[in-house]
């Protein structure tokens, strides 16, 4: 694209630079601190070492929790995709009484305080005698992540011209084959983006997890919180840096698959 800023270019670049700095410093700081060759977190960091990463990756509490969270968030994302896709299709493609109400209910976890959802779930699970922490956590996380999938898949469906599906039907494709050969390829980007949002949201979740975990099933945010209160060396910065790295990778994946702007829309 050509540069049309002209004389205004300098202040615009300056402002953009400052804003980027403002956003990036809190992210870059832990990375800088995590390589400091000192027994405590100090600023400015001194020397360079990767031993804190080695130490952290040898910490059983951390690695167990990381493994558990990866499993939990993958299951939650999968569940959100499996439930969210048909929900999105129903809500965008079919007019039925109460559609708006159901849409609001499905999307309500986006605005409803998840702390409250967590307590409610805890009461609910104990009243029905469901004591498997992993199952409870997956259900709770699916509940709060399904809206992301519903939104991104709905956005892809709205952009899909219904005539394209009708064309497939007239060309001899049954409803199911039309979905598989025509609709599905169109909504995959939205589905992947929604799945990644669901994964990240679940991976990051504290408010629901704190009510539903038990000693054997501790999601990473809870472990990190307890580590911070008893760990004073740069290892905690190393953990933060690893989290940032993971998020960065996922954001890049979304960007490659759909374009972040498109995925965020709606």
């Amino acid at each position: 694209m050509e540069n049309r800023l002209g004389a205004a270019a300098l202040p615009v670049y300056l402002a953009a630079g400052l804003i980027s700095l403002f956003l990036l410093v809190p992210l870059l700081l832990p990375i800088a601190l995590s390589v400091s060759d000192t027994p405590f977190v100090v600023f400015p960091p001194q020397g360079f070492t990767l031993r804190w990463y080695v130490a952290v990756l040898g910490e059983r509490d951390f690695t167990d929790s990381l493994t558990f969270s990866l499993i939990l968030s993958s299951l939650a994302a999968l569940g959100a995709m499996v439930l969210g896709t048909p929900t999105a299709i129903g809500l965008t493609r079919h007019a039925f009484p109460g559609r708006d109400l159901i849409r609001s209910l499905v999307l309500s976890p986006l605005v409803f305080p998840s702390l409250v959802t967590g307590i409610a779930l805890l009461r609910f699970f104990s009243s029905i005698g469901s004591h498997d922490a992993l199952v409870n956590l997956v259900i709770g996380h699916v509940l709060v992540t399904v809206p992301y999938v519903v939104r991104t898949v709905s956005a892809s469906l709205i952009m899909l011209d219904p005539a394209i599906e009708e064309a497939a039907r007239t060309l001899g494709a049954s409803r199911w084959r039309t979905f598989w050969h025509v609709t599905r390829p169109q909504i995959v980007p939205g589905l992947v983006a929604g799945g990644i949002f669901a994964f990240v949201t679940s991976f990051d979740n504290y408010a629901i997890s704190m009510w539903l975990f038990d000693a054997e099933n501790v999601p990473l945010p809870l472990t990190m919180f307890s580590l911070i209160s008893r760990m004073f060396d740069p290892g905690i910065a190393a953990i933060a840096s690893l989290m940032i790295l993971l998020s960065l990778v996922l954001v890049l994946v979304v960007e490659r698959v759909t374009g972040l702007q498109k995925a965020m829309s709606l």
Binding site: A167, R169, Q186
Partner: protein, 365 residues
Amino acid sequence: MMARPDIELGGVVKAYHGHRAVDGVSFGVERGTILSLLGPSGCGKTTVMRMIAGLVRPDAGEIAIKGQPVTRVPVHRRNVGMLFQNYALFPHLDVGGNVAFGLEMRGVAKADVARKVIDALALVKLDKLAGRMPHQLSGGQQQRVALARALVVEPSVLLLDEPFGALDKQLREAMQVETRLLQRRLGITTLMVTHDQEEALTLSDEVAVMRGGRIEQLASPTAIYQSPTSAFVAGFIGTSNFLRGRIVLRQGDRALMESDDGIRVTVASAAAVGERLTVALRPEAIRLDLAGTTGSGPNRVATTIDQVIYRGLTTHVYLKRAGGEPLTAIRQNDDGAILAGLVPGAAVEAWWPDERNHVVAEDPA
């Protein structure tokens, strides 16, 4: 023996929210011909076509394709080729993939698919673009791909919904001619929806003029134009002057009608004296005598010229009668020049041959 029409509709009805979008439509499209559904926006043309394709389920009535009742057959087993207004190409498949789709759905062997795709693309002169994606094609090319995709499965009938609407004038005319030639060559029975009367008249074997969910008149293009049966058709296809009045005299199978504003015309009608009639009169039937009032008698009237509009091939002359009532005449220009003396304010005598008076049905309203 006369074969059954390839497309048959009998008493087809479709209502949306209690309003009948299609209100009892019956017609047939003969093998190998093109029939156009023509009518103003919202009259139900697309709905009729979608019911034939199976995309809309009729509330009542029967539909048959090639003699087989299909009213309860789902879309994908009707074997219709349909061209959508915006072409509806599959955006994730290349041109070859788009054309192959219908064949793959029918389980045609891979080698045959490849051969048929190439043949179909050659048919629409696009064999060199098989690897392109739809968004890399011009509107005209997209339309050809859509046509190849619809034809490659050898459909029983071809359905075209405003197929040329999205193309600019030049390309539209080229595609119209091309589509017509292709249709003739393949001999495929075709139903076309359009609201462009010129398109309907030039491309069709028969034209069905629709209005408010009903077929107002179904006839050949010439018959529709020359002998419209209703005031609506006479006004919708081309333009018409309307003279409304009463029969004042009968003579054999002819009658003399005097319009409410005093023009006397002779018509072929069995109506009795005193009965009310409407006569449609094409503007191009009207001759203009610059000599002023010369004759008397029916089928002529004294007027003054109100406006003259030059249209290249023709000149539209807007006339006014003594009482201010308008009358429009269209004259062909000789050598591209306006007839001398056609200037606003001039007095002219307008007259026309009596066979150009057409009695038409008035609106029931």
